[in-house]
Assembly symmetry: C2
């Protein structure tokens, strides 16, 4: 079996990459919301930290009742217990990635996890 998998994502349909890529340490979704639209429910997580990455456009995240503005090139970490709800701006769509990882699961990284050939 190959040690890699690859896919290309374009368009505005939500795409969930966990099964497509065979991910075992994260779920990553690619999302698009037209201007004025929003996730229709508030949610939190049991275990997972989320990182939202804004690729294009504008939106905002309500986090525990606070409105956080989101613009292109923003990276937003949300703790599992936070009550969150994402919306596009009234006058702009928003394209974003949502990464879910188990909070506290990373033990080492970069130089400490690397094996040089």
């Amino acid at each position: 079996m190959k040690n890699y998998s690859k896919t290309n994502v374009t368009g505005t349909e939500r795409v969930e990459l966990h099964d497509i890529l065979g991910l075992s340490g994260a779920e990553i979704s690619v999302n698009y919301m037209p201007a004025g639209a929003g996730v229709p429910f508030v949610h939190a997580h049991k275990q997972n930290e989320e990182i939202y990455i804004i690729l294009e456009g504008k939106g905002f995240m309500d986090v525990d009742g606070e409105k956080v503005e989101l613009n292109a090139n923003d990276f937003l970490r949300v703790a599992p217990e936070a009550k969150r709800q994402l919306s596009a701006a009234a006058d702009s769509s928003v394209k974003y990635l949502c990464i879910q990882v188990k909070a506290g699961s990373l033990e080492e990284f970069t130089a400490n996890d690397a094996v040089l050939s």
Copy 2:
């Protein structure tokens, strides 16, 4: 303490988000390589699965001796044990995210990990 943290990343300097955002389940770096440049070493990982997300430009990843082409909107999973080396294309820069997560660490996600208010 707030249940979220946010930063904005522009420019071509490598930025590592683990400490900036207080991530506990992932390291995420934002990277840029000019045309013709490449990572000067081959590496693998002890524990971590990597996901490379190509934001702009073109490049290629050598994975275990196989040359994998990379274009904008590509998502590439690389297993911990794979020997990898990323380069920009000869005629194009490449801007990309690299996400490190512990392989096998995700236990549940999306609906199974959600708590609705």
